[in-house]
Symmetry: C2
Subunit: 186 residues, 2 copies
């Protein structure tokens, strides 16, 4: 007993680890697989330890949400700075993120979140809020039908990646991206 008591205390690292494990579990076994027992055990922490960092399960999911939307926001902001054309700027940044994430390691985290989003009414509401905020912010530049369509298509591709239902090869993917970028300029 008390084996883990003697390791050096690294609260921030443990917190990070818990979030990572929660994401991985949700990917591998679905949202139902994200139980306090499973997460804490896989992270090498007791359940009490988990509940010390996140007072309840919802807080854990909220933590995931904040983590990932935070990353998304930063990436989008960065992407937008390197785009000289105002019209559709946000949409193109969004496209970049989606197309980048479908191949990178970060993708798993987002796949997880999407699934959780759909199942958890509370997180659905938070996502709704995120979309509404950004729609308001970029109403002048990104509310054309073309932009909307481009973002929808990106979401569809994203969904297909999550479900692994289609297997889109890289050339086709790039062609689609070019097409959607053109759409965002309309």
């Amino acid at each position: 007993m008390s084996l883990a008591h003697h390791r050096r205390k690294q609260p921030e690292l443990v917190r990070q680890q818990l979030l990572e494990v929660a994401a991985r579990l949700s990917l591998e076994q679905g949202v139902a697989g994200v139980t306090l027992d499973a997460v804490s055990q896989a992270a090498g922490v007791s359940k009490g330890g988990l509940l010390h960092h996140f007072p309840n399960k919802m807080a854990l999911l909220d933590g995931l949400f904040d983590d990932l939307t935070g990353k998304l926001d930063r990436t989008i902001e960065q992407e937008m700075r390197s785009d000289p054309v105002a019209h559709g700027r946000f949409t193109r940044a969004y496209l970049s993120c989606v197309f980048a994430m479908t191949d990178e390691t970060d993708a798993q985290g987002w796949q997880v979140l999407t699934i959780a989003l759909l199942s958890e009414p509370q997180l659905r509401a938070r996502w709704r809020l995120w979309v509404a905020d950004h729609a308001d912010e970029f109403v002048g530049t990104d509310s054309s039908a073309g932009c909307l369509l481009a973002r929808f298509a990106a979401d569809g591709l994203w969904l297909a990646d999550i479900l692994k239902s289609h297997d889109v090869d890289q050339p086709t993917r790039q062609a689609m991206r070019a097409h959607l970028i053109a759409l965002s300029l309309q």
Copy 2:
């Protein structure tokens, strides 16, 4: 006791009722709300009765899946018969279904299924199979980049409807539909 024992036996009707109730519950309370107790009680059947028709919970969800994909298949087939152009015929039928379902009452059942799909790894696999089967069947006519993109965009719109994240008005919706049909002809 045994009050319901004496009603006339209508196995097919009871089965149908159980599926309907399961769909309704999942819509109203999320997937977590679909418990054997809740379903059986709301359907006016004992839990034993439910487990007679569906030997376990997964079988119940499978039943839902079969029911709904069956309906989808029939609708698509019907839609395809009234389309004289071969190229992109399946994609246009798919579009019709998605656009129709985002407004009709049947939509609720599909929203439910989509959510369940994403959460349950087993159902995700079944959906993957459905897509693969149809991709094979229509490989000659519906595998162009335009068709793929059109279907992705439809999925994105569908997702937005489920999450109620965007509020797309009817004129925009129709414009998008026209655009996607044009894409399917490329």
